[in-house]
Amino acid sequence: MRFSRRSKILLRVAVAIALAFIYIPLIVIAIYAFNSSNLLEWPPPSLTLHWFPEAIKDAGARDAFVTSLKVGAAATAIALLLGTLASLAVAKHRFFGRETVSFLVILPIALPGIVTGVALSDTFTQVLGIDLSLFTVVVAHATFCIVVVYNNVVARLRRSSASIDEASADLGADPWQTFRYVTLPQMSTALVAGALLAFALSFDEIIVTTFTIGAGEQTLPIWIFSNLFRPNQIPIVNVVAVIVVLLSIIPVYLAHRLTREEEGVAGGRGAGAVATEATAMP
């Protein structure tokens, strides 16, 4: 399709505006991470690297970081398991209630966080009588992470042909072998992408976590929330944010590379694959 010069320029301008909109606040955060004053005035009086070692020394931040990693890993593992099971059922078979499964899976993420948080919290404390703790947080996170894995894997399985499974059976493989040697490798990139996104979801989650976490525990977002207004901690919070964004380049790039390898098979969808997989999250 030919584009007139004018529409090309207009589109480029629109893209520039959108990117500026997205990145300016992040730049502000980065600047505050170097702010010498902890009062968050603008413009900052001077810049310093002073806060970076402070952030690394901060025990609360470190503990919260580790807790977030643990919760994220556990929730992702559960979501991987349940999401894969559900997507296998939906992609490989036709049965009544198939559409309902998609609906059910997306519900935890489509309903407002406060609803999910309060409902789960009440069930834990009132109905089941168990104390809130990291376990309850993991359960809550896994619940809304399922959809991320599910969508990725279903999309991937839909693109693969059923005849491969039949060929495998013809060659004498039983269903477990077919799954292990045929289906699983096909799904692997979708699983990795789904796992990365589920982890990201859990890592940044605040609302549901607030309602389901025990009194003595802190994930990183909870730590940030408790430090948001402490003057001495604000620069550290900004530093932590900057560090996490920089660290995130690795998994994002990884996910992109992994799905790019499918270009040949999926017919030039390229980054679209990452996008499709990436879109399955709130």
Partner: protein, 408 residues
């Protein structure tokens, strides 16, 4: 479509089954009948090594926090509560040992059985607490003591003296719509239903025909007047605050110029070099109508995992020098009469790194009983007016829903 129908039926079946199951088990909710807890410790044993406290910002800080940890070996974990509601909620989880409860939390905690009576014989420093803090309706219920008085203070009016001129002497700068309009969008109001009492205190002076006496026991006419006043105020409010530090940053950033606050924020802003001012010392730091305030009580949880450490804390926090430290740090009147000895005040100020002020207790009217008669301590609004009106008054649920209405 057929598949859809069957799926829907299946879903309904499951849902129905769950509902039946839930009702059958009575939903397993706590079957507490709301009885007060009556277990009282008879002795204080060895410290358990840890203590989990909830309190107002600035109540548990160094140097006295680390002093306590050194002396008793009880490591203190301190969680700040922004409002009494938050404190009640946290205490209900049963994961804390104690709380510094204001009057609008203490009654609720006692009646729900969340706190246990305190054996004042185990708290030697209790003997020398000011008399007008003992046996009060917010810390003593049916003759049983449920806590140790910490300190008391008033909710003060604070303003940025570069922006707010002339210096206000009355709450009308915030509550009179015509005056408040001047500072539209720059007014900071406490985000809690209990603030309705502040409007009632204002109306007690400015609309005496309403006959308001106790600002926490309002019949529907008085209540509606207070609520309407606050609805008019909303148009001028810049921020409703519940986090002390959030208010500090709002004033420091120029988003707010005047508002209701605690001494804690006032001193913190002065420390930052902000041009803040508050009602004069001669007035007792409150505008001419008087003010609401609070008298805080340390209470012990009925599910305290570390009761011995809690008793040690309660005795520690009202010991003369420590109570003087805490009071001067926060800006409130100490509950311990011995804290007001000038030598104690000076030593405490030195320890806390504050300017020496042997007149502190006089300034804060610590021993002046008549002053506190014009400060209306936070208490829980009850339907029982406590006077000839009987059960006509608005209870706390009414206050809470009115507050939602006021904020809009």
């Amino acid at each position: 479509m057929r598949g859809q129908g069957q799926a829907a039926r299946l879903a309904w079946l499951i849902a129905a089954g769950l509902v039946v199951a839930l009702f059958a088990t009575g939903c397993g909710s706590s079957s507490s009948t709301g009885d007060r807890n009556t277990d009282m410790a008879q002795s204080v044993g060895k410290g358990e090594g840890e203590l989990n406290l909830i309190g107002w910002a600035g109540y548990v800080a160094n140097p006295w926090k680390s002093q306590f940890e050194k002396e008793t070996g009880c490591q203190v974990n301190f969680k700040v509560g922004g409002t009494s509601d938050q404190m009640v909620q946290l205490m209900r989880t049963g994961q804390y040992d104690g709380v510094s409860a204001s009057g609008n939390a203490s009654a609720r905690l006692v009646d729900a059985g969340d706190v246990s009576p305190v054996n004042v014989n185990l708290v030697p420093n209790y003997k020398t607490i000011f008399d007008d803090l003992k046996d009060q309706p917010y810390n003593t219920f049916d003759g049983t003591h449920y806590g140790i008085p910490h300190a008391r203070g008033a909710n003060v009016l604070m303003w940025n003296k570069d922006e707010v001129k002339p210096s206000p002497t009355s709450w009308d700068v915030m509550l009179d719509p015509k005056k408040a309009q001047q500072y539209k969008g720059k007014i900071s109001v406490y985000d809690d239903p209990i603030y309705i009492a502040d409007a009632a205190v204002y109306l007690k002076t400015h609309q005496p025909d309403l006959g308001i006496d106790n600002p926490y026991e309002l019949d529907s006419k008085q209540f509606d007047a207070a609520v309407n006043l606050l609805k008019e105020q909303r148009a001028n409010v810049g921020e409703y605050w519940s986090d002390a530090l959030k208010q500090i940053s709002a004033f420091a950033g120029g988003d707010d110029w005047l508002g209701t606050t605690w001494q804690y924020q006032y001193f913190a802003l002065l420390d930052k070099g902000e041009p803040m001012d508050t009602s004069g010392e001669t007035q007792g730091f409150v505008p001419k109508e008087g003010a609401t305030g609070w008298s805080d009580t340390w209470m012990i949880s009925s599910q305290a995992a570390h009761p011995n450490c809690m008793y040690e804390w309660m005795n520690f926090i009202v010991s003369p020098k420590v109570n003087a430290e805490v009071s001067q740090y926060f800006g409130e009147a100490p509950s311990q009469s011995l804290s007001c000895k000038p030598s104690t005040l000076t030593a405490a100020a030195k320890a806390a790194g504050l300017p020496e002020n042997p007149k502190f207790c006089d300034q804060y009217h610590a021993a002046d009983q008549s002053f506190w008669k014009n400060v209306y301590y936070w208490q829980t609004p009850l339907a029982d007016c406590g006077d000839s009106r009987g059960d006509e008054c608005m209870d706390y649920n009414d206050w809470v829903s009115a507050w939602t209405d006021i904020k809009g």
